[in-house]
């Protein structure tokens, strides 16, 4: 009788092998999604093709996907920094909300400032608000060993309700017919679009910040310390690395990046603050960060793909009337299969006689 055993690889899987595993995982998840379409009576191949066309099939589609990828990328870059240290920041959603609130406060308070002063001030306010929101769970963890997963999660609910409190109350636009939204930002407070495309300059922010984060881990001492602590906390502490301070640092950075995404979303895409800017980018970011194995470039690719998935799902709804929840199914399946595929990076299956 043949028996399959798992054995540890002597050296990690090659790049080609990794890609192969990733590809098989993606194909498997698409097959399973196709099966679900089939069960519902939708032709599966048509369904998947329609999905991809909607996501990447035309210039518009690609622009739309990039546009949607911007906030996901920034949030994801943020959570990836925390994940490097094995700090589970589930709170990008709340930090995003706080960032949007901070930016809006500046935009509404100083609408007449010139663009060159107002936009940086908004970024600063967003980063401080988001970073500060991220610092609270870090300090609680450092001082009291409070579990950061739960605190960040609860703080998401609080942040969203705080945002609602503001737009339903003190910040409500008097001309909005009572609907919960702030007045539209002044021209100076809006991040513009690139040329004739529908993509805003936030894309450039993403590129710069992505390079900075990459450089932080590659070249700075602190970046190295974060990685070292993340790999092995006990050993790093033994070596005298300031673990507790690093926890606070990564959470602040993480929150600041999510806050930056909130700023872009309020300024560039909605031009005001309203509750509907909260559409779960912060949670998608976690998925993205993990799929990309925390690497900035891969995060860029993964956020583009997942944003495309979100956009493509609208197409498959419109053409084939598949419920919106289908997007969640594919997302979940991709994540699970890729996660399971991770086994093959460190192990291999050996067939042998029992």
């Amino acid at each position: 009788m043949f028996h399959i055993r798992i054995t540890k690889r002597q050296e990690p899987l090659s790049v080609g092998g990794s890609c192969l595993v990733l590809l098989s995982a993606l194909i498997l998840s698409l097959l399973l999604s196709g099966l679900l379409l089939f069960l519902r009576g939708t032709p599966p191949v048509d369904g998947i093709v329609t999905l991809f066309q909607g996501a990447f099939g035309s210039r518009w589609a690609i622009e739309d996907s990039i546009l949607k990828a911007i906030p996901i990328f920034l949030c994801s870059l943020g959570v990836a920094i925390a994940f490097r240290l094995q700090i589970w920041n589930i709170g990008a959603e709340g930090q995003f909300a706080l960032g949007a609130i901070g930016a809006t406060w500046v935009a509404l308070s100083f609408p007449q400032w010139p663009k060159i002063a107002l936009l940086p001030a908004m970024v600063l306010a967003a980063a401080v608000a988001g970073g500060g929101w991220g610092m609270i769970p870090a300090i609680l963890r450092q001082r009291l060993k409070t579990n950061e997963i739960i605190v960040t999660l609860m703080m998401n609910y609080i942040a969203i309700l705080f945002l609602e409190y503001l737009v339903y109350g003190v910040w409500k636009d008097p001309t909005s017919f009572g609907f919960p939204m702030t007045p539209e930002f002044s021209e100076q407070a809006i991040v513009g679009k690139i040329g004739t495309t529908s993509i805003n300059w936030g894309l450039a922010h993403c590129l710069i910040l992505g390079v900075l984060v990459w450089g932080f881990f590659k070249f700075t001492r602190t970046g190295f310390e974060v990685k070292a602590c993340g790999d092995n906390v006990r050993a790093a502490r033994y070596a005298g690395l300031p673990y507790d301070r690093l926890v606070v640092l990564v959470m602040v950075l993480s929150g600041a990046l999510a806050g930056w995404a909130g700023f872009l979303e309020a300024s560039a895409t909605v031009n005001r603050l309203q509750p509907s800017i909260m559409v779960g980018y912060g949670y998608t970011a976690i998925v993205v960060a993990w799929l990309a194995r925390l690497h900035p470039l891969s995060i860029g690719i993964a956020s583009f793909l997942l944003a495309g998935l979100r956009v493509g799902v609208e197409n498959i709804q419109l053409d084939l009337q598949v419920p919106a929840a289908f997007g969640g199914i594919i997302e979940g399946l991709i994540l699970l299969t890729v996660l399971a595929g991770g086994l093959f990076t460190h192990y291999r299956l050996v067939r042998g006689k029992k």
């Binding site: 705080f162 997302e331 979940g332 399946l333 996660l339």
Partner: protein, 307 residues
């Protein structure tokens, strides 16, 4: 208005709205005691809620629906088991994926059941006990699922402290290497933790679709699974404290609605924050006073396959 006429219904409501969270929290405790962190509670709950609703609707038997919900919950968490126990996937991420997948699946498969009703459980006052002043109306005028939930924590305590299997399960969560050396099959214990936990989470979901309301809609669980994850930590992994936590959360939920009904002038957003603020506060307070760490030592750490 007399204060007592407000307080008693408030506490009764706290028990009821705490019950689905209690089931899910107890489920997560079993799972975590075996060393597996499952953040997919929400996903397991919503799949259980849908399965319970569908089965009850087709068979006309809420009891069958209730069991089906448990089985569906186990099925959902078994995905987590496959990914983490067999494929060594990261438990945090796998749990999140389960949440996303579960909500997607339930909402996808449940579209055609929206706006329908299914037979469910109704309140039954317990003879004698329900006539005890104060305690009777608070604890003994509910549906049978609430009474079942009263029985689970003591059973779990006994299981953890006094049975061989329960001790083995805890060993798998505390010292998997030592447990393996002692000849225990750690993976089997962890599988049990995941499946039994999923069963309870599914029951928690069914409480929402078969007892609390008799309805199915998308996102029926509304974040209650996440609260359960938080309460496990609040409860120091003890079933008894989980009861306290679930009812405390339920009572704050019920309290904020009653404050509104009484005509308070506070904005509703601020009142709605209360349960979440309280959760953080309680978590902080309990970590403050607690010196020892009760978290299962190997929580979230996968057991590497033997070479």
């Amino acid at each position: 208005m007399e204060i007592i006429t407000i307080i008693i219904p408030l506490l009764a409501a706290a028990v009821q709205s705490g019950t689905p969270i209690l089931y899910a929290t107890l489920g997560e405790i079993i799972t975590e005691k075996s060393g597996v962190l499952n953040l997919g509670v929400e996903g397991a709950m919503i799949i259980g809620a849908l399965a319970g609703f569908i089965v009850s609707r087709y068979t006309g038997s809420p009891v069958l629906g209730f069991f089906a919900a448990g089985i569906a919950g186990s099925f959902a968490t078994s995905i987590h088991g496959v990914v983490c126990l067999w494929f060594q996937g990261n438990q945090v991420v796998s749990g999140l994926a389960l949440t996303i997948l579960g909500a997607g699946l339930a909402n996808y498969l449940g579209t055609s059941y929206v706006g329908l009703s299914a037979p469910g459980f109704s309140p039954v006052a317990v003879p004698l006990l329900s006539s005890i002043p104060v305690l009777g109306p608070i604890f003994f005028k509910h549906d049978i699922l609430v009474y079942i939930s009263y029985c689970i924590p003591p059973v779990m305590c006994l299981f953890f402290t006094s049975t061989r299997f329960g001790l083995g399960l805890r060993a798998a969560g505390e010292y998997p290497a030592a447990a393996t050396a002692a000849g225990l099959n750690v993976l089997a214990y962890r599988w049990f933790g995941i499946l039994a936990g999923g069963f309870l989470m599914g029951l928690g979901g069914a409480y929402l679709s078969l007892a609390y309301t008799h309805l199915w809609t998308t996102n029926l669980t509304g974040g209650r699974g996440w609260i359960a994850v938080a309460l496990v930590i609040f409860a120091f992994w003890r079933p008894g404290r989980a009861v306290l936590g679930a009812y405390l959360f339920g009572s704050v939920m019920a309290l904020q609605l009653r404050l509104q009904a009484l005509g308070t002038q506070l904005p509703s957003s601020i009142l709605l924050m209360l349960p979440y603020v309280l959760t953080v506060f309680v978590l902080v307070m309990s970590s403050w006073r607690k010196k020892t760490n009760e978290e299962p030592a190997a929580l979230g750490v996968n057991v590497e396959p033997a070479d």
